[in-house]
């Protein structure tokens, strides 16, 4: 049972993290290849505070705020650059984040921060906290999708210039998406620090940014349920397919590739097609 708790916690954190990217990329159409940096900000903030014996429940909001502030800055960058330029700029953010963090003695430099204490919640309690936070944000995402906010996001994702001409203050909306998405990533980061009780510069690099993007795309970009499912599965897939051993990553990447190649709209797309087929019978 204990191991299952670990898996569930891992899944819940990934779901929260993936949904936070989905908010920016799936909803508002702003592609980010550097999302792990924001998780990193949250994780480092939390790790430093927890080392100073500050309670997890206080740590989480602070981590969210720190990540959100950085998110706001990157959001401003997104007002200058677009599309592929934005993708690479955000990618730059994650490299810069890792590069800066690894030079900071107070953040443990290359070595990172370890020996973080377990919280008072215990492993089960912590798992429940993670699941609840992921659930709450999923609910919020679903709400946004139904609201006019979601409608405006659709139009910005579609064409920013046209949105302007329809009287939409694109900049405000983009900043909003960035702040919400990155603050949530910061929250996931705080949970990460508690869960692994270790943070290091390499834990929040480009590879992690791509993994989370893969979760969003495999789930079906913009689809809340799809992204949740994909994040849950992909986060533990490497552990589940341990038995293929040496071929683990090969299998993982082959699955990812096939998914893109044969169902580019993700799991959500597959489900949609199946539903259509059933309905058309």
């Amino acid at each position: 049972m204990a191991y299952e708790i670990t898996l569930l916690t891992t899944m819940a954190i990934s779901v929260l993290f993936a949904l936070s990217l989905n908010f920016i990329t799936g909803f508002c159409g702003q592609i980010s290849l550097g999302h792990a940096a924001f998780m990193g900000v949250g994780a480092y903030t939390a790790a430093t505070m927890m080392k100073a014996s500050i309670s997890l429940l206080f740590v989480i909001p602070v981590a969210a705020v720190f990540a959100g502030v950085l998110g706001l800055l990157v959001g401003f960058a997104s007002l200058r650059v677009r599309h592929d330029f934005l993708a690479i700029t955000t990618m730059g953010v994650v490299f810069l984040f890792v590069g800066v963090v690894r030079q900071q003695e107070f953040l443990g430099g290359e070595i990172g921060i370890s020996g973080i204490q377990q919280s008072v919640l215990g492993r089960t309690g912590f798992m429940l906290l993670c699941v609840v936070l992921a659930g709450v944000f999923a609910g919020f995402s679903l709400l946004v999708k139904r609201s006019w906010l979601g409608f405006v996001f659709d139009s910005i994702a579609d064409n920013e210039d046209v949105s302007q001409v329809l009287g939409i203050d694109v900049a405000k909306y983009k900043l909003f998406a960035f702040v919400v998405g990155t603050a949530t990533a910061g929250t996931a980061g705080a949970l990460y620090a508690q869960h692994y009780r270790f943070v290091g510069p390499d834990s929040f690099g480009f590879v992690e940014s791509i993994s989370v993007l893969a979760m969003v795309v495999v789930g079906g970009i913009g689809s809340v349920w799809g992204v949740m499912f994909a994040a849950a599965v992909l986060s533990v897939l490497p552990l589940l397919i341990q038995f293929v051993d040496d071929y683990k990553i090969l299998v993982y990447s082959a699955l990812l590739f096939s998914m893109m190649r044969f169902s580019p709209d993700g799991l959500a797309g597959i489900v949609q097609r199946l539903l259509n087929r059933v309905r058309n019978r």
Binding site: D84, T89, V98, F206, Y252, R261
Partner: protein
């Protein structure tokens, strides 16, 4: 004197970046795909280069073989992986490309082993002294000469020949290019062939300079080359060249003078971000 040497080292590095990034620019220009798996072709080039050299003893033959094989693999990659995704949103192809890249790294490891390969009798060792105390290695000289040669030929073709104009027409509107008789399919094959062959050349040369090819050899170029083509202004050949050289030189001086503040990658990307904030379209990009 030291500055001159550092500058020169920057140019060597820049030339390698340019060879790799150029293929990426070609692909991006034509298909708007951020072709990360390009770096896997670079690694493949390195492997073929070392293996053929070790078998035959001829570096020239190895370069040729690497160009042809990798060029064809590039075309196959386009055909099997990208062509079906062209009408999809760009990040689909990006993720697919990353997946391909990871898979390729794993295949290299499984096929050639994790330890990497080296030239048994590394060719072009040694060098000559241009001015006193200033060594130029044969390998580095070859890198620079080949890059200049290849890049100027390409620049000339794309800017001044009918073929180049057709290529650029295909870039902006493939359907209309077809409507004027451009065989866009051939253009794409050729594009991938040339771009991949260039990556292969870079792979052989880097293998030569390091005397090592490893499964993960492509990890640096995989993202740095993306930064370069963006910095240059996506799709601009001259921009790519300029950005490669600037990054090479910045990294060269940066390693020595601010290496303790920021590593090479962070340096390169920090520079990229600063430039993009002032020129969102890249150095030589147009909007």
């Amino acid at each position: 004197m030291l500055y001159l040497e550092l500058l020169f080292q920057g140019i060597v590095q820049g030339s390698i970046y340019a060879l790799i990034a150029l293929g990426l620019t070609l692909v991006y220009g034509l298909l708007r795909i951020l072709h990360v798996a390009h770096a896997a072709l670079f690694t493949l080039g390195g492997y073929i280069g070392v293996i053929v050299t070790n078998q035959t003893g001829s570096l020239a033959l190895a370069i040729l073989a690497a160009m042809i094989v990798v060029g064809l693999v590039g075309v196959a990659m386009y055909k099997l992986a990208y062509e079906p995704l062209l009408s999809k949103p760009p990040f689909i192809a990006l993720i697919a490309s990353i997946a391909l890249f990871i898979a390729a790294e794993e295949l290299f490891r499984i096929i050639f082993g994790p330890y990497g390969l080296s030239y048994e009798n590394p060719p072009l060792q040694g060098g000559f002294e241009i001015i006193s105390g200033f060594f130029l290695k044969y390998g580095e000289a070859l890198v620079i000469i080949l890059s200049i040669l290849i890049l100027s030929v390409l620049g000339w073709v794309s800017g001044y020949t009918r073929l180049g104009v057709s290529w650029r027409a295909t870039v902006t509107d493939p359907d209309m290019a077809r409507a004027f008789g451009v065989n866009t399919q051939h253009v794409r094959y050729l594009n991938f062939f040339i771009g991949s062959a260039l990556a292969a050349v870079a792979g052989v040369l880097v293998a030569l300079l390091n005397n090592l090819v490893e499964p993960t050899m492509g990890s640096v170029p995989s993202y740095k080359a993306l930064a370069i083509i963006v910095l240059g202004g996506l799709g601009s050949i001259r921009g790519t060249l300029l950005a490669s050289m600037i990054l090479g030189v910045i990294e060269s001086f940066g390693t020595i003078y601010i290496g303790h503040l920021l590593d090479r990658d962070a340096l390169a990307f920090g520079f990229l971000i600063v430039v993009l904030m002032f020129r969102p379209q890249g150095l030589l990009g147009t909007r």
